[in-house]
Symmetry: C2
Subunit: 294 residues, 2 copies
Amino acid sequence: MAKRERVAFLGLGIMGKPMAANVCRHGYELTVWNRTRAKAEAFSELHRGVEVADTPAAAAAEADLVVTMVPDGPEVEAVLLGPDGAAEGLHAGGLAIDMSTIAPTQTRKIATALSQRDIHFIDAPVTGSRPKAEDATLTIMVGGEKRDFDRAKPLLDAMGALVVHAGPVGHGEMVKLVNNTAAAINAAALAEMLNLAVKADLNTTAVVDVMASGSGASTMLTLKAGPMLDRAYAPLFKLEHMLKDVRHCINEAKALGVDLPIARLAESLYAKADEAGYGEDDFAAVIEAVSPGS
Amino acid sequence: MAKRERVAFLGLGIMGKPMAANVCRHGYELTVWNRTRAKAEAFSELHRGVEVADTPAAAAAEADLVVTMVPDGPEVEAVLLGPDGAAEGLHAGGLAIDMSTIAPTQTRKIATALSQRDIHFIDAPVTGSRPKAEDATLTIMVGGEKRDFDRAKPLLDAMGALVVHAGPVGHGEMVKLVNNTAAAINAAALAEMLNLAVKADLNTTAVVDVMASGSGASTMLTLKAGPMLDRAYAPLFKLEHMLKDVRHCINEAKALGVDLPIARLAESLYAKADEAGYGEDDFAAVIEAVSPGS
């Protein structure tokens, strides 16, 4: 059996922390870095043998595989390519695995910059929220060379239940955008139909039961019909983040010469809800753009 | 235990035949009528004790409960209220149960005409195709008085797995329209996203697997992603029928002062596919309106 590769995990936020914990549980030698160092120290106290690094470069110097899990594109770029970034520490032939959700165009730009230093790169964003990160049941979609996907697979299997190779660099992010935009449209359509059901004075329990039993069923129906009918928006996934994903998707499609009229209409509804002050709420609040609650 | 009510079943088409067979299997005394009498004769040869009537009126004269399962509104009106219609035979206090899919406005009109003859009425359209009709696992959504719903419930339970009371007359049809329109939008959104996936050269198997595992999942994804990607449209539910339902839904909403912008956009796509000659195909062919196949 090949010697197991050493891992640097950069970013111990809401998602990164439980993901890194699963990597640790699978017996990987692990060095962690976090912008707020106290979080990395706390993590290392909980997980025996985990080292804490002062900079991304220092963490990467101890590793063969570098995982980044940070908020958005600029942070990924800074942590990998900025001063004291991982690219300064990682040896030639090392593999950077970005699990953040960022625009595919930015992903490709970062991959190109890293390849000039002989550092391999894959994008591997995830779907599923914190409980799935904790249970290692995330869905992970990967863009990159097949060889790099195969190399990262055992590590990704430690964090996810479904790990798929979507195509070349950027395609992991692209699959995530396609999925999230489909979800955003299904949720907006659900809001439109539930509003009609209420206005038509239908028994909404009957409506939801009927839809759940057949052709109208969807994950969005299961998760969002209740919050929409109750107008209760405790955030599982913030509306402003869903809006960002739909916009990224529309822009990527435009660059390919593909128009997305349904996604554009959904975008206008999420934007309206965002402007009405629901950006920090769960995206179930899109029903406020369809019909403001009383 | 109350004496079981006698049933007249009018319309033995693709759906009506297996539904009537299940009524028969549950031990109901049954008289059948069909426009083409030979089909009714064949049915009665298969099911011992079933009587065949010459007219809807003659069938209804033997019954307490009259079920109609015919193509559209004009046929329901003719079979119930036309010359030799069921209303001429059914006794005062009898209950007519329309299981066809027709416009809610026409449903209410029929109910009013029947009530003038002291005949009760409920609308009870179904979702689920022929296999579910055969297995008695249809979803049945009922509009009408609670008392009439309770009276029909044992008979409907012989044909369906989920039987819900949606509200007053017309609400059964309305719930069906809401469900089908949600399905139509989800399918149109799926077509838009799969077209993008193809144009972006994504691994479409990975895309479908990722969507099926989480927020992008829907019954439409399960049933229609394959036909859309294969451009294979063997009809399970014809595109022209889906278009009709979406149009009914938009019109009913308009009468209530409710705008359905997403449904209107979906309508335009189904209409475009219909005009391109896909009306008789499965509604998965909506992808032809998003992007014509080569």
